[in-house]
């Protein structure tokens, strides 16, 4: 489906953030990220897992190139076409669902056929509606459709399934697996849900509290997406043990 990503996109995602600080409201600098290193092979799916408020969204914005105000280095995979699913759907309320999706298409592909993707995401009946008329679940799907419509070499997802009921979230997760597998896009997902990360990802990065860095990294055996609940639970147990150890080590040091 996506022949744009053949030759030049064997490059991995490499992100190094030596330091990232914000100025708080009263003018004092707050260090959010320190000495964080990420490397993700082309075509694989990475997940960032950490406590809420640990700066996951900040890291994602830096990876997306939306925030260049940091000390470090960023190499994105492929030709730099980016697909992003924000925490809130961030659709344009004055454009229909279809217009919202088409606006993200690369220049010159405005007329491309969306039927297949729209069918996978179950958006067929809603293309002509405005985002204000959609439920949160449908709006999230539209946002995912938009991210894939952009034909990205690099896909970023910021907690795309929070505050959805479990049934809808599960369906959307399997749809996401189908789409990422087919397009072989390099994907980085931010989540606080360990089970979700284990189900979807090839590689997990566990983040510490502020200032954030990677405290543990774990590659999962393929294939992703088809792990059963028992396998997920087992891996989860194992990881919690590793994690507890990593946390006490940092606490001691």
């Amino acid at each position: 489906m996506n022949d744009a990503q053949t030759a030049g996109d064997a490059a991995p995602l490499e992100l190094r953030i030596d330091a990232k600080t914000f100025l708080s409201a009263d003018g004092t600098p707050v260090e959010v990220v320190r000495n964080l290193k990420l490397r993700l092979e082309a075509g694989s799916f990475g997940a960032l897992i950490g406590p809420s408020g640990c700066g996951k969204t900040t890291i994602l914005r830096i990876a997306a190139g939306l925030d260049r105000d940091f000390v470090g280095e960023l190499h994105t995979p492929g030709s730099g076409r980016l697909g992003m699913v924000f925490q809130e759907p961030r659709l344009l309320p004055w454009r229909t669902v279809e217009q919202n999706i088409r606006l993200a298409l690369p220049a010159g592909e405005a007329a491309v056929d969306l039927t297949e993707m729209v069918a996978i995401l179950g958006l067929g009946d809603h293309l002509a509606r405005y985002p204000g008329e959609l439920s949160l679940g449908l709006a999230r799907r539209a946002a995912i459709a938009r991210a894939f419509a952009a034909r990205p070499d690099f896909l970023l997802l910021d907690e795309p399934f929070v505050s959805l009921d479990e049934a809808t979230a599960a369906r959307l997760r399997s749809e996401l697996v189908a789409l990422t597998t087919r397009t072989k896009v390099t994907t980085l997902l931010v989540t606080h849900d360990l089970a979700e990360a284990i189900q979807l990802a090839d590689r997990l990065f566990f983040l510490s509290d502020r200032p954030t860095r990677v405290i543990a990294e774990k590659a999962l055996p393929p294939p992703r997406g088809t792990r059963s609940p028992e396998v997920i639970a087992a891996i989860g147990e194992e990881l919690r043990a590793v994690l507890a150890q990593a946390t006490t080590e940092t606490g001691g040091g």
Binding site: L92, L103, Y130
Partner: protein, 245 residues
């Protein structure tokens, strides 16, 4: 319907008052109607109205274009805003009459001076409203547009203008009413034609029927513009909003 009754009541009160007073200083609706009809037939009313409308259109367009650009720039850049804000305060507090006199003295009693004087009177209001609108732009949608690499044009068309639409509508509505009022003053002071000029000469002759006739005709034209042009445009810009249940 209530609007119709309310207007009919206004005309009725006027007719009764005129009948009671019986003075040429308060002509009744019938007499004003007769004058209007006569001037319509002779072509005098359409001609004068046309002169005024052309000036309204010209100054309105200049004020809106410059005001939107200035307001957007000031809303986007704090530094520019800091430097330009004092000028804006000077302009906004300048009495309309002063601007008009300056324009006529510096540029001469001509069309350019007239149109510019009106535009400058309107400009600061547009700028202030558009600056507010620009400050209220959603940074999250900006970020979305950057992430998906929207072109500059697409960003303006699909992200910025829809957000500014209510502010554009507000400033063009208030703008239209301010502009036509000031155009009449400009014409009264220094133009040989237009509704303002006619009102001025009618005033010196105490010709109340003509004054009322032109004033009412002009208000009606502006009402038509409002309901046939401004309101449909506004509805079109707002069609995505969910109808209140």
């Amino acid at each position: 319907m209530p609007r119709f009754y309310s207007l009919a009541a206004l005309i009725a009160i006027w007719a009764v008052a005129a009948a009671l007073v019986q003075s040429r200083l308060l002509p009744g609706p019938l007499m004003v109607g007769a004058v209007t009809l006569a001037d319509l037939r002779s072509g005098e009313l359409p001609y004068q109205m046309g002169c005024t409308l052309a000036r309204v259109a010209g100054s309105f367009a200049i004020a809106m274009i410059l005001g939107v650009i200035a307001g957007y720039t000031m809303g986007r850049s704090k530094a520019i805003d800091r430097y330009a804000d004092p000028w804006l305060i000077v302009l906004i507090n300048m009495p309309a009459l002063v601007t008009i006199i300056f324009a006529y003295i510096w540029l001469g009693l001509n069309e350019t001076a007239a149109v510019l004087a009106v535009a400058i009177n309107k400009l600061p209001n547009v700028t202030v409203v558009m600056r507010e609108g620009t400050r209220a732009l959603d940074p999250e949608l900006d970020e979305m547009a950057s992430a998906f690499q929207f072109t500059g044009l697409s960003r303006i068309r699909n992200v910025v203008i829809p957000q500014l639409a209510p502010y554009l509508a507000a400033s063009s509505r208030s703008g239209l009413s301010i502009v036509w009022k000031i155009v009449l003053v400009v014409e009264l002071i220094g133009r040989p034609n237009g509704v303002g000029f006619v009102l001025g000469s009618a005033f010196s002759l105490f010709d109340m029927a003509r004054i009322l006739s032109y004033a009412i005709s002009f208000v009606m034209v502006m009402l038509l513009i409002e309901s046939l042009l401004v309101q449909p445009l506004e509805r079109r810009a707002n069609r995505w909003r969910r109808r209140p249940a």
